[in-house]
């Protein structure tokens, strides 16, 4: 009972905070913060694009709008007067984002519940005690789903992004939707979510790998060799307690490779279908005022070539204001390739934990994407909470938490010093960006090593059990 109180109370609190902040008109405060909106996600730019479209011009005329034409049709009419004084107007303009956040949180909760369930099944199957649950009484602990739900809704970053006029909430919702579809083996949903997320913000393209693994191998599980080891020991053990269930589970885990391929082909098919539909819809939404090629140039190419060097949370702007033009293309490639470089080794190492892999890849993207905002941090923090069981042993958690608080406070201060007071310079602000990037690096490294350690620990326990059985 206490659990549901905490969860639903927390959820209501999250939604309430959002509505209250919107009604108080904080949107106009956060609207132009570089931490909250990027040129790609800005709602004021979207309003400009919407106006241009209504005026009979291409929404991409000039250099205002860099988002999807679908968002233009979806959100454009809702925006209205964002600077207005009527609470009704303000709530209406923000309602969609609150709903998107709520949906994301609920989807995260479902994924989490599923993860919890499979997790306990796996552990049972391996005959290992859960180190996470073993530590404390089971009743008191919220599950990964509930934690993730609360983390996503109550995270100040998510709140700021939702309230502050950014379309990140919707992008995040589609990413989570695709993961949810993959986790619950709804292939069309996964394909659609992935296609939408890719269309809106390009970087989720790397999430295809975790989604495919999720569909093929099921949700996060210990390495498959553990099960082999466990099974080889099982006949010797001859325990009749939960044998039947175990075997069923094992069969499920070890799907035939043929069906795996079929599932992935299905995913590719649905993703392609979704992409086709999205492009068709975009063409329709653009009303002959702009071409799809132009759309691509103004959205994904704009992200790739980093045309806007306005300071933001990322590392690109500072570097590309300094670099020689001669090296610009090369370093653009190097910066973007940083993400691609990490994908193969991480996939090899973590393919048995697709949700965790998705979390790591999202964090890496957030670190080296061209126009990052705290919305990306909101997403990976939500995904991180899904792996709370594996990450319960995370080191430097205290340091990381304080680091995030530090940058949330000092970032705006340094920006203010540089841009408005004129007493600082670009290095002041960029130093904070470097701290932020370092924090994320530490988070990635520590998370990966914690999970590897967790797996190793499981292995040790299985071996130990085998030996005790054998002896």
């Amino acid at each position: 009972m206490g659990e549901s109180w905490v969860v639903w109370g927390g959820g209501a609190l999250g939604v309430g905070i959002r509505l209250l902040l919107v009604a108080l008109g904080s949107a106009s405060l956060l609207d132009h913060r570089v931490e909250v909106v990027s040129p790609v996600t800005s709602l004021s730019r979207l309003a400009e694009g919407h106006w241009l479209k209504e005026y009979g011009m291409s929404p991409y005329a000039g250099s205002a709008y860099h988002g999807s034409p679908l968002l233009l049709s979806l959100i454009g009419p809702l925006i209205g007067d964002r600077q207005g004084i009527y609470v009704g107007d303000l709530l209406r303009s923000c309602s969609l984002f609150v709903v998107a956040d709520l949906v994301s949180a609920l989807l995260l909760r479902s994924i989490g519940k599923l993860l919890e369930r499979t997790q306990s099944q796996h552990l049972l199957q391996l005959g290992v005690t859960d180190p996470f649950r073993a530590k404390s009484d089971k009743k008191d602990v919220l599950g990964a789903g509930n934690i993730s739900f609360l983390v996503y809704l109550l995270n100040p970053f998510t709140v700021a992004v939702c309230v502050g006029g950014s379309t990140s909430s919707i992008e995040n919702m589609f990413i989570i939707l695709s993961l949810y579809g993959a986790a619950t083996e709804k292939v069309p949903l996964a394909g659609f979510g992935w296609a939408m997320a890719t269309h809106l913000s390009m970087y989720p393209v790397f999430l295809f790998i975790p989604i495919a693994y999720l569909l093929a191998n099921g949700p996060d599980s210990p390495p498959s060799k553990l099960f082999d080891l466990s099974e080889s020991a099982a006949p010797a053990a001859e325990n009749d307690s939960c044998n039947e269930k175990d075997e069923k589970q094992a069969q499920k885990v070890k799907k035939a490779s043929g069906s795996k391929r079929a599932v992935i082909l299905k995913l590719v098919f649905w993703a392609a279908i979704s992409w086709g539909c999205i492009l068709r819809l975009c063409k329709h939404a653009l009303l002959e005022r702009s071409s799809l090629v132009n759309m691509w140039q103004k959205t994904h190419k704009y992200m790739l070539t980093v045309d806007d060097l306005t300071p933001n949370l990322g590392l690109f702007w500072y570097f590309f204001t300094e670099v020689f033009d001669f090296f610009r293309i090369f370093f653009l490639m190097v910066f973007h390739a940083n993400i691609a470089f990490m994908v193969p080794p991480l996939t090899i190492r973590l393919h048995h934990r697709p949700i965790f892999l998705a979390f790591i890849l999202t964090t890496i993207c957030s670190m080296v994407k061209s126009y990052p905002t705290v919305g990306d941090a909101a997403l990976y923090m939500g995904l991180m909470a899904l792996c709370v069981q594996e990450l319960s042993d995370l080191q430097y958690f205290y340091l990381l938490l304080n680091g995030y608080i530090l940058i949330s406070v000092l970032g705006p201060v340094m920006y203010n010093l540089w841009i408005f007071r004129g007493t600082g310079n670009a290095n002041f602000y960029f130093a904070i960006n470097l701290v932020y990037a370092t924090l994320q690096t530490v988070l990635i490294v520590e998370s990966v090593s914690t999970v590897v350690r967790y797996d190793r620990n499981l292995l040790k326990q299985v071996k130990l059990r085998n030996r005790t059985k054998n002896s």
Partner: protein, 632 residues
């Protein structure tokens, strides 16, 4: 899975495991047998991870190669060197031609004083006196009944005989230089003899030879007549006694003097090469032969009076002809502005004797107040064109008759001065201003009539800035006079002088610019050279060659235009923006660009590759050993 067991077992997290049975783990390790053997082949996961990272880097290499490729358009280095060497050995110069015409009265030819042989003698003597190889000379006797020419033929017949018949002597008798100048101009114009670099000296014989023979007291007595340099490309000598035997040498020396001093060097007395070069270097033009004449009316204290001026009319009436005649030399354009509150930077002192405020000669260099005279107008400040400022300074009422003192102590008659390469300053005193009360702020308008004397000074300042003598030819001691070019301000032959100087300067400048460019390019091997630069260099060289070949046939304007293009292309190539940014990019910067990211990353990747490779080999050997032992 095995590789997991390879990792040193220092698990902080495995409290359970440790708690349950440290001994068991140890037992397991013992049970595994000795450490140098293993039962299964080693796992390859670590190797795959390492190789996937290395592979990513390898995939990046072609992109790196392609995107940072240094494109260098081929430059004709040897041609540039050769061109510069050629110019060093033989200076580029546009050739001059002189045509000496004896338009004698009928009586002289009949007497036989001027004959074919004396023409030869004059030509020979002229060559000796002028001592300059590129002054082609031709001598013609244009008498009523005969017309004989000797000397170098230059591009076709351009002198129609019959000057004597067409009433020359009637004009001479009027003793009006202007009329005579116009007569000669109209006579030669319709015969196309007036292109650049072709000069004519008409020697007009005198009626009756008695005066000359009587006053034979010194060597040159028989040529004591008047020499007048016209405003086109003529000079003429009147009152020359042609009856004296051996007159040829005197005439030739006189003509050579005129030709060298005026036609060739623009009236500068000094003919040394160095001085000439200095003047050439100081011609106030931009790289592509343009200059902006910026006229500013500076009102030192508008509380005393406010001035406006009819500069448009002045421009149209007085300056436009000058601009037109200067067209081959320089493209001039005009701007004007009125500035207020522009005090001069030096103080004057009151001189009771002269009843004027004086600025001493030594103070003149500090007259221009660069802090408060904002003369640079926006359109001229951008772009590369040269700005020549002409400041008309109206002093405040309390120092109104403001005059400039010459070094001799007298008052400057022009009340202005020039500063080479910058422009000129003229002080304009309102007539009767010493009686005006200050702080009345009355409005005045300078009409073009009032401005006329100032314009005269400005024109002479422009002449001085371009390296011509400020006033027209007048040398009464030697009996040489000039016809002032009243309308244009610059005579045709003076334009020729400037044109020659500019063409020489342009050709030399283009050669030296190209030479510097080729040195720069070869000194910076990682500099990108765009095709555009290559094209500009090629076209500059081609234009320079064209200028040389045109100059040989005497096509003045074509040669000068080609020279101008050669220089402007060379400058454009040298100041290409893509080069400019790379000038400050030495090779060491490459290191600074690559090291911060790639050295740490690649170092780790390579170390990991080595470590994993050797580890895998070792583990494989362990397995092999165990396998062998099993087999035996």
């Amino acid at each position: 899975m095995e590789e997991l067991t390879e990792v040193p077992e220092v698990d902080r997290s495995s409290e359970d495991a440790r708690g349950h049975g440290n001994g068991n783990i140890r037992k397991e390790e013992e049970g595994k047998g000795d450490e140098s053997s293993r039962r299964e082949p080693p796992g390859r996961k670590r190797l795959f991870i390492t190789f996937s990272v290395v592979l990513c880097f390898l995939l990046g290499v072609p992109f790196w190669w392609k995107s940072t490729e240094v494109y260098r358009a081929p430059l004709p280095f040897s041609a540039i060197e050769e061109h510069a060497r050629y110019l060093n050995s033989s200076a580029f110069a546009l050739p001059c031609h002189l045509h000496i015409i004896f338009a004698s009265a009928p009586s002289h030819t009949r007497g036989g004083f001027v004959t074919g042989s004396s023409l030869e003698k004059v030509a020979e003597s002229f060559r000796q006196h002028a001592g300059d190889v590129d002054f082609g000379v031709r001598v013609t006797l244009d008498a009523e009944d005969s017309c004989v020419s000797v000397g170098r033929e230059d591009g076709g017949e351009y002198w129609r005989c019959g000057l004597a018949k067409s009433g020359l002597h009637d004009v001479v008798d009027l003793h009006d230089d202007d009329r005579l100048d116009e007569f000669l101009w109209s006579f030669s114009k319709d015969q196309n003899s007036s292109t650049g670099g072709r000069y004519t000296v008409v020697v007009i014989g005198r009626e009756g030879s008695d005066v000359g023979s009587q006053s034979g007291m010194h060597q040159n007595a028989h040529v004591n007549g008047r020499t007048v340099v016209g405003k086109h490309r003529h000079a003429w000598m009147t009152g020359v006694d042609l009856s004296h035997p051996g007159f040829e040498d005197g005439i030739a020396s006189r003509i050579a003097d005129v030709a060298m001093t005026y036609f060739k060097n623009g009236g500068r007395a000094s003919k040394t090469g160095r001085d000439e070069e200095d003047q050439v270097a100081s011609m106030p033009l931009s790289a592509d032969g343009e200059a902006v004449l910026s006229f500013s009316l500076l009102n030192a204290n508008p509380e005393d009076w406010i001035f406006d001026w009819d500069i448009e009319e002045v421009e149209e009436r007085y300056l436009q002809p000058l601009i037109e005649v200067m067209e081959p030399v320089a493209r001039l354009s005009i701007e004007s502005q009125v500035l207020y509150y522009t005090p001069k930077a030096v103080s004057s002192h009151w001189d009771e004797a002269l009843k004027a405020h004086l600025v001493p000669f030594k103070q003149l260099p500090f007259f221009v107040n660069s802090n408060e005279w904002h003369l640079d107008t926006s359109s001229a400040a951008t772009g590369r064109s040269k700005l020549l400022n002409f400041a008309i300074y109206v002093p405040a009422a309390n120092e109104c008759p403001l005059h400039m003192q010459l070094s001799s102590g007298r008052i400057s008659p022009t009340n202005g001065f020039t500063s080479p390469g910058w422009g000129g300053v003229i002080v304009h005193n309102l007539p009767g201003c010493e009686n005006l009360l200050p702080n009345k702020s009355e409005n005045y308008r300078l009409t073009s009539k009032e401005l006329e004397p100032l314009v005269g000074v400005i024109v002479s300042q422009i002449r001085a800035l371009f390296g011509l003598p400020p006033t027209f030819v007048k040398n009464s001691k030697a009996g040489i006079y000039g016809v002032p070019a009243a309308v244009t301000g610059i005579a045709d032959w003076e334009v020729d002088v400037l044109l020659r100087r500019r063409a020489t300067m342009d050709i030399n400048a283009s050669a030296s610019t190209l030479l510097s460019l080729s040195r720069l390019v070869s000194s910076l091997p990682n500099m990108v050279i765009k095709d555009e630069i290559g094209e500009q260099v090629q076209s500059s060289l081609a234009q320079a060659k064209a200028a040389q070949s045109q100059s040989l046939v005497g096509a003045y304007h074509a040669a000068a235009e080609a020279a101008r293009k050669a220089r402007s292309q060379a400058e454009a190539a040298f100041f290409q923006p893509s080069i400019m940014s790379m000038l400050y990019f030495p090779a060491e910067h490459q290191l600074a660009i690559y090291t911060p990211f790639f050295v740490p990353v690649l170092l780790h990747v390579l170390v990991a590759l080595l470590k994993e490779g050797s580890r895998y080999k070792k583990e494989w050997q362990k397995y092999k050993r165990w396998h062998m032992r099993q087999a035996t």
